[in-house]
Amino acid sequence: MSLIFTIFTVLTGCEPLLVLDPKGPQAQVQANDIKTSIIIMSFIVIAVFTILAIMLFKYRASKQNKDYEPPHIEGNVWVETICVGIPIIIVAFLSFMSVKSNYAVEAAPNGYGNKEPLVIYAASSNWKWHFSYPEEKIETVNYVYIPTDRPVEFKLYSYGPITSFWIPQLAGQKYAMADMVNTLHLAADVPGEYMGRNANFSGKGFAENTFNVKAMPQKEFDEWVDEVKDTAKPLTEEKFTELLEPGHLGQSTYTGTHLGFMPPPEGENGGHNHGSNGGDKNMEQHQPNETDSKTEHEHH
């Protein structure tokens, strides 16, 4: 197993595999889980391969006496207890690890707990990503800038099919859906550019449904925000409706966000558990300046 592993790592061009080259605490938790489980699983694979090899080597018909009659063996309590016991111990250990990691990836990144998180709404439409910064009051399409050393909360939802928001080097994926908002916690330790994409099949333009992530120090980030505010055009409702049209777009930047005129499906606008508001109605409701107060009653 590890031999095959090396061969393939060489084949992929010596670059470490994205998922195993984490640049943030959440992806780090996941990469650790993956590496640990690969090691444990390699032992099982090696054990099975070894037993199989020994059996085939020793008990081939060609190695046996012609009159040899294999015995009747019902089973052995001790052997079977071991064969149940060891897997149970392994599964128990992995379960423990899994549960711990679950709570880690579903909370603010480890070590960043005391810092104020940056909230970014990430909405997908066929086949684009719209990033809204409610506090900074700016919006981008198909790219997102984040500060390093600060927790980021992505609020995910979709104008269309289920999509999955994924930045392999920063955090695992989570679904973006039409009638509810999901929260993905992450943080970037190192400045750099990262690949992000929709991982869940969403139709014709799925393959190109990607976005760029750039992590930079807080100071640079603030400069970028100021620059956008100075130079970018405002995002009007007509413009946003135009952006939602199915198709691919390049990257673009706007001042203001769509959250005012098209509130995300959360809180009282959510379809989830709050049946009285359908998605269609959401799109017609005009509720400006509510985004800040709304972050309080979200689903976690």
């Binding site: 989830h272 558990n273 689903h299």
Partner: protein, 94 residues
Amino acid sequence: MKELFPMKQIMGFVFSLMLTVVALAVYFLNMSFAMGMTILVVTAFIQAAVQLVVFMHAGETKDKGAIYTNVYYGVAIALVTIFGTLLTMIWGYN
């Protein structure tokens, strides 16, 4: 002559009418959600058991093991599906 009279069936019918009346209490009386659901769960499952044993003769042949296993298994998996679905579709998000 004794078996001519369908005692078992009549008892079953009266019992199921009584259970229906008890269940109706949740409509006519004011009570908490938990209390109401408890009453409904209890009465519904007893009613189902009455039908199964009294009217459907589930236990009368040597296949009763298979029949009861089948019913219990079906009910168990149906409950797993219902509560699992509620857990993943609703409760998990609160």
